[in-house]
């Protein structure tokens, strides 16, 4: 090798081993970037929240303003409306990245895709699931939700919506390559949402009747733990399939 070659190879290094470190940097930067992006397109963040508020406002008007009747169906109504609101926002989770080419760049990083996808889902939950959970007690007032169940409602929604975001992201990843994947996404994801819905609404019911709330919350927590372990891997695999198509 000549002297000039030696001087030049200083600039260009061929990496011989898998990259070490840098994962925290990449995950943190992805979190920050997605937060910044969503906060600059506020309408997308507000859409599900407005949907949630409108649906809950319409029920007393459409059914009856009778507090006893509303209180009986309030837990289920609040949970179903929140679930649909979360579903509404899922379609855009990977869509923008797919359209502008940053998704293929995300797939080409040497960092583990599952963790980067988890960062994106975390942002989705922070700006959709968490605000929905915080808003729910206020809307609960409109449905004459009995006192004592407000905290449980917020906690169950916070826990449950995290699972919803994780599970929904699998569907969003699978349908990102399709031009009109919205309906398919709902069909794919809704059956998987049912356990979360049952135990979430169940927790609020239990709080109203004074049963064991903790059991329901524990199952919601267990579902979240399962989703946290398996969903990122499934999301990563689904993204790979979508990009391949």
């Amino acid at each position: 090798m000549s002297a000039t070659d030696g001087a030049l190879t200083k600039e260009i290094r061929v990496a011989g081993e898998e990259p070490r470190g840098g994962l925290a940097v990449a995950v943190w930067a992805t979190l920050k970037r997605d937060l910044m992006l969503l906060l600059r397109r506020r309408s997308e963040v507000l859409n599900p929240l407005v949907f949630f508020a409108i649906v809950i406002t319409l029920f007393p008007i459409g059914i009856s303003p009778d507090p006893a009747l509303l209180a009986a169906i309030a837990p289920g109504l609040l949970w179903v409306a929140a679930l649909l609101a979360a579903l509404l926002s899922l379609d855009s989770l990977f869509r923008a990245d797919y359209d502008d080419g940053s998704l293929e760049q995300l797939l080409l990083t040497p960092q583990p895709l599952a963790l980067l996808a988890l960062a994106k889902v975390a942002v989705h939950w922070l700006l959709t699931g968490l605000p929905l959970a915080l808003m729910a007690p206020v809307l609960g007032l409109m449905l004459a939700l009995p006192a004592g169940s407000y905290v449980v409602l917020a906690v169950s929604l916070a826990l449950g919506s995290a699972s919803l975001s994780l599970i929904g992201a699998i569907g969003a990843a699978l349908t990102v390559g399709l031009s009109r994947g919205g309906v398919l996404l709902s069909l794919l994801v809704l059956p998987l949402y049912i356990p979360v819905l049952i135990f979430g609404a169940g927790a609020v019911q239990a709080a109203i009747f004074g049963d064991g709330v903790l059991a329901h919350l524990a199952i919601l927590g267990a579902l979240l733990a399962l989703a946290l372990i398996f969903a990122p891997l499934a999301i990563a695999a689904s993204l790979r399939i979508s990009i391949n198509g």
Partner: protein, 214 residues
């Protein structure tokens, strides 16, 4: 550790039509390989296969003598791919866009490096303008700033000259040759005629057949 990307008997079929068949190639350090062919001849598909994005092909790929399946992570940390879409977020400024790419490469990076990279591609003064307000050519330049910001030996560039003005094309062409001379490797599709030189090789696709020439 050497820079060597090999493909053996690559073949790819789309919609019952063979884009290419029996394509073998050996790409090494110091080369610029231009993939040529008419529209729809499979240039982008070949680039996607060679950058490890598509698994739907026949044949074998090797990086540095190892099968791609085993060497994928190492390969990816040597690769810089710029696709059709520039991968630039319209709502973010060029600086923020580059900061994310730097972080994806695992580098914390500094503001100064990002400013320097943007200046090099002629975007000084546009650092804090949302990329959505920039022209198509300027957005492409934001993506091209990654070439110097996150140095990688293997560049795979799909139509990098799109929407770039004449001076920009000349500068980018110079940049490609510098990279090849410095021991890097460039794989590029373009309809723009590159200045012939010793480093340049061509792969011609189209009409189902192909020839690999020098």
């Amino acid at each position: 550790m050497s820079l060597r990307l090999q493909g053996q008997n690559l073949a790819c079929e789309r919609d019952d039509r063979w884009l290419f068949q029996g394509l073998s190639l050996d790409i090494q350090a110091g080369e610029i390989v231009r993939v040529e062919g008419p529209n729809g001849s499979g240039k982008t598909t070949l680039l996607k296969i060679l950058s490890g994005q598509l698994a739907d092909y026949e044949g074998e790929l090797f990086w540095d003598g190892r099968p791609m399946r085993e060497a994928r992570e190492i390969f990816l940390s040597n690769l810089l791919y710029l696709g059709h879409a520039p991968g630039v977020k319209a709502a973010l400024t060029p600086l923020e866009n580059l900061a994310w790419y730097q972080a994806l490469a695992g580098q914390r990076g500094g503001e100064a490096a990002r400013f320097a990279a943007l200046e090099e591609v002629g975007l000084a003064g546009f650092e804090d303008v949302p990329a959505g307000q920039l022209s198509a050519g300027q957005q492409r330049r934001v993506a091209l700033a990654r070439l110097s910001l996150t140095p990688r030996p293997l560049w795979v560039l799909d139509e990098p000259f799109t929407a770039i003005d004449r001076d920009g094309v000349a500068a980018l062409e110079r940049r490609l040759f510098e990279h090849a001379r410095a021991g890097g490797c460039v794989l590029v599709t373009t309809h723009h005629e590159l200045t012939p030189c010793a480093e340049l090789r061509r792969i011609r696709l189209g009409g189902g057949g192909l020839d690999v020439g020098n």
